[in-house]
Symmetry: C2
Subunit: 296 residues, 2 copies
């Protein structure tokens, strides 16, 4: 049974821009404001990680302090550890997110520790966030495949998702980090996770690296999942370049959902304008086919 | 109920290349041969239209005369009229196709006559093809929208499809010419047509202009349709340019179908190699995300 409403979690300003060449703080603020104006109510606006590792996010504190907070919009930050969380809280982030993996090899290569060690590190983050009444979102990466291990067992995805949920994450975002999933295994994975975590606490974060993201989402909507992560203009993965992370373009997702009669609360044309504006600022073509098709 | 096998009708060498800058006859012949080697058994290889209108197809007779005919592969030609049909038969095409529309305005602008007049013109083509024991495929364009009229009634699509089928077309290919369809209306349209034409005589020809083609196909596979048109490397619509026709890349389709456990008979890596080879010949990036993701 398809949901009648879908909540879109917009990751372009963080997961997107951290994989693009640096843009100015002013351009980021403009993007975030345009996204809110277009009707997005959940906007990931920055990341509190070492600027040595992700220089594109070095201005996240400034972003949170300066952004024009719109009523009804939640601005979130990625906070991998306690120090990042303190900085995010100080800057005024509305909510935060932690980042786990369903693959041991990916966890080791990406955050230099095992899945279990990463969960240990999340405990003080969860406690400190709880003390501040700040909600924590949990990402699980590699849910449909790992660049080092290949296939990942759905039982392992469900196990990690359940741990994060039981630790107190209010929502678990299931990431097909390398975009290799297809419709049937995507749906099977979501159904397996939904046996451990209520389906209304799950989100889909599917990359479009292999062009499959929309088809996979369509297949998964039947499970009742109704939160989807995407990135305006497909920020974070230039579809024309090798090594693209391949974020799904929010415009193309909204076009599909509206065609299905699903409410998103988003004004598509304003969203397209927001995506075209940041694409010009970066100096590349939009990664949204809807934007390319509708823009003269 | 999803089909267990899907037959892919490869249109890259015709519908694709007619919308790209001209390539040499040798490059076309190489492409067609590589497609056959990759396991495609239905290859549209040329078009017998006036070279004044479509200069890219001026060498179609030479293509058919010189191509390396593989056993079990059907090489087809687009033949809009009796003269084109005679040329195609003379050149040795295995089967031919005619091109109708579900939109009066598109018919007028594209082939300078009404839908009814176009059908009149097809009668002598059908008769001559029948006399030569050559099968005729029928295309219907604008099945999910028209650039001039907007929405097209599914009853009109079903009416035109039924006329072509009753005239003797062995298969009706339903074209979302401008790629505006979404999953629900695509499926509704196919179901409406399947009330008039047996579903095993239908094919989907969905453009990816709005990024929706795979999701739309996924939705329509449930109706039992099991023939899909696509274009290797997304030939015929550079996804980065305004005005792209946006053919769906065969590689991305095959990746999805194989992920669904659906047999296509195609060797994906050889298909990717064929697409990369013609993309280099044209001097542009592949329009297949699978090809971009898997090619160093």
């Amino acid at each position: 049974m398809m949901p009648t409403k879908v909540s879109i979690f917009e990751v372009g300003a963080r997961d997107g821009l951290q994989n693009e060449k640096a843009v100015t703080t002013a351009d980021k603020l403009l993007l975030i404001d345009k996204l809110g104006a277009a009707g997005l109510t959940r906007i990931e606006a920055g990341s509190f990680v070492s600027p040595k590792w992700v220089p594109q996010m070095a201005d996240s504190a400034e972003i949170f302090k300066r952004l024009n907070k719109r009523s009804g919009v939640v601005y979130s930050a990625l906070t991998p550890n306690l120090k990042g969380l303190e900085l995010a809280l100080d800057a005024g982030a509305d909510e935060v997110a932690i980042f786990g993996a369903a693959s041991q090899s990916f966890s080791q290569r990406n955050i230099n520790c095992s899945i279990e060690e990463s969960i240990e590190r999340f405990i003080p983050v969860m406690e400190r966030a709880s003390a501040s009444n700040v909600r924590v979102r949990g990402y699980v990466s590699c849910v449909l495949g790992c660049p080092y291990e290949g296939d990942i067992a759905v039982s392992e995805v469900a196990r990690v998702a359940e741990i994060l949920y039981k630790m107190g994450c209010y929502e678990i975002s299931l990431g097909d980090t390398i975009g290799v999933g297809t419709a049937k295994n995507a749906r099977n994975m979501v159904e397996a996770v939904a046996n451990k975590v209520p389906v209304d606490k799950l989100a889909l974060h599917f990359h479009d690296t292999y062009g499959q993201a929309l088809a996979n989402i369509l297949a998964c909507l039947e499970t009742g999942v109704s939160v989807i992560d995407s990135s305006v203009a497909g920020l974070g993965g230039c579809p024309y370049a090798k090594g693209a992370s391949g974020n799904l373009a929010t415009e193309d997702l909204v076009y599909m959902l509206h065609g299905l009669g699903i409410d998103t609360g988003i004004e598509l044309q304003q969203l397209i304008d927001a995506g075209n504006s940041i694409s010009r600022a970066i100096g590349r073509a939009s990664g949204s086919k809807v934007a390319l098709a509708t823009t003269a």
